[in-house]
Symmetry: C2
Subunit: 386 residues, 2 copies
């Protein structure tokens, strides 16, 4: 059992949307296809991965460091002890050989994309959906077949007014989402209040609206906004400040009683541990959004879940960033709290399988083997180019 | 005044040495040359930069994100208000446009290499050595013409015994270094004690030997080693544990009375602030080794120095990692505590100018304009390939 080839590339996911910090005019995603010599139905099994959304493709690292290390590794060094499948944990160690500690970013994205493709391949070799593989390995077979999802949108773009925002949100609610998220901090507080109130009119319950500042505010600004947001009783207040300013989070948590959410820009277990140690977040209400695809893959994510458990955090507090099928399987297989969804943005890199639609805010997991990228035709088309 | 071209590439700095965590068989450095339309002596002025040592070239990020942004920027957006020179602070903002917060690594290396080349160019346009430019801008012209340096070596490599280690160290002492540094943690404690004692025999004073574990130990191991090291009274005990484990540093600082040193694997002001806030380090004795070339360049380094000052740290506690001429100029121009030097390793990417030799542990700063990469013939030869 061997890897025949690892192909990779970079795709534009350019769009006109922006959040409070960046626009997406230059945004890219990295894509990966790992071809094995395991033949099923006359064709070799291929695992697919990509770099989630929101950080750039890390193709240079994939090309210069990770692929050469994997392709040079002896066959048996990549396999599980019984030799019947690949072992993503062993592949992880090989990818990270001769990598220094610290500096977790970009490299974590590159490793995450290959890790996703490896888990896709592992599950295809077992001929099971990934969530079932994970449930069998880590939860005695127990699957959470219904996964909580929320619709992330409400970006700023040129010419977008309150009416277009409402149309967008109405679309999400009509298609089966219960919770929606909109950007804040890219306009004045007064304008954002109007946006929030317009959306709450649609959801009815302010607990069905989350807001996301994408790390834009200073601590003082975040507190000022927090005071204005608090009376609404929103689902959560996301990334108020720089994601690495742990003590700043502790200050905000002192003042803002409602749920906070952060973590999509922490890319390793050790960085996340710093948030837990120093960020003053509250295990009974706050949300953690680390994205397995951006942060060294599922291998590292299992370490993050273990670390959280040691610190008294339930994995139910984790709702990953990224809106990809990989995190959907992790949610169903490992029993974390849910997953983000981008029904309307990021083109082929947003959304789930073609036939997958939420009902009352939950997705019923499909049965396709692997991650099921083949069942998402626009993304599969891009990956087949490799 | 405009940038005509930005050329870049990657060079192998492969060698057989290893520290406790990585070997250097695959190590690379990124190189950069920025050609301006400023003509001096009939030739266009060119600024040179590279990615320091020890992390990999970040060529993909330079190529895909940073160079396109700089080359698309309108001419005046890169210039100082009087239009007489380039402004590295403005260039920095342009390079970091559409970059999300967090994930400081790799990107910081890419930005740092271009930032180095820009400062080299800025100083050449002023026809001054960079340290003089920095002293004029930030210290009323006051230059520290003699810069403290120490010789970093003592790596592990195949077949190296105590005698070869002593020969290596003797070479450093004979060539004018007063302080030397060796690796620890890549052998047993017993073997490393012998290595330490062999070197102290040569330096006479244990305060002239620093040791470096490259982040290899767990906190418990680091404390065990610390207890064994403490009686020697060494110059410092460097990177005992993972550089991002701030609370772990605080535990070690509680136990180890002698100076600790860390920071070479922190790549931004905000990550360094976390070390200062949560790492329990002591402003009266510990050393900070952030490498301006690896951590978003001198632009970000000025912010780091300001942050340190706000937290009551003297810049004299800073002795950057990397052993490059850029940090030498920063030390002389901004008055930080000194600089690392690799007289024996990293080939063309170690060491300073051809005629620069330490005397009694200090380097007398040369007068060449810019960073003086032209006066380091082996490195200049590599950069001219661009």
């Amino acid at each position: 059992m061997n890897i025949v080839s690892i192909k990779y590339g970079s795709e534009s996911i350019r769009s006109e949307i922006r959040n409070a910090v960046v626009d997406f005019s230059e945004m890219t995603a990295g894509i990966v296809a790992i071809e094995s010599d395991v033949i099923r139905n006359g064709k070799p099994l291929v695992g697919y991965g990509f770099t989630s959304n929101g950080r750039y493709a890390a193709t240079g690292i994939v090309k210069d460091r990770l692929v050469p290390r994997l392709m040079k590794a002896p066959e048996e060094s990549l396999l599980s002890p019984d030799g019947n499948n690949f072992d993503p944990f062993k592949a992880w160690e090989i990818m990270m050989r001769n990598e220094k500690p610290g500096g977790h970013g970009e490299r974590s994205v590159a490793v995450g994309s290959i890790d996703m493709a490896l888990w896709d391949l592992v599950a295809k070799i077992e001929d099971l959906p990934l969530y079932q593989v994970l449930a069998n390995r880590y939860r005695g077979g127990q699957v959470s077949r219904r996964v909580y999802v929320y619709a992330a949108g409400g970006y700023y773009y040129p010419g977008k007014d309150l009416e277009s925002l409402k149309d967008e949100i109405k679309g999400y609610l009509d298609s089966g989402y219960e919770t929606v998220k909109i950007k804040i901090g890219g306009a004045t507080l007064e304008e954002d209040r109007k946006r929030i109130e317009a959306v709450v009119e649609l959801t009815g319950d302010p607990g069905r609206l989350a807001v996301d500042a994408n790390g834009r505010f200073t601590v003082l600004e975040a507190i000022r906004w927090g005071k204005a947001l608090a009376p609404y009783g929103l689902k959560w207040y996301e990334e108020p400040i720089d994601p690495v300013d742990y003590a700043g989070h502790a200050e905000i948590a002192q003042m803002y009683d409602g749920p906070l959410a952060t973590g999509e820009n922490l890319f390793s277990t050790i960085d996340t541990r710093n948030l837990i140690r120093h960020g003053g977040l509250r295990a009974d209400r706050d949300y953690l959004q680390m994205d397995p695809a951006l942060s060294y893959g599922l291998v590292e994510y299992t370490r993050t879940l273990e670390m959280l458990s040691e610190h008294g955090w339930s994995r139910q507090r984790c709702i990953p960033h990224g809106g990809h099928q990989f995190a959907l399987h992790i949610a169903a297989g490992l029993g974390i709290g849910g997953n983000e969804s981008y029904p309307g943005v990021f083109g082929a890199f947003g959304g789930f399988g073609d036939d997958v639609q939420p009902e009352s805010g939950y997705i019923e997991m499909p049965d396709a083997p692997g991650i099921g990228i083949e069942t998402k035709s626009n993304l599969f088309e891009i990956l087949q180019k490799l």
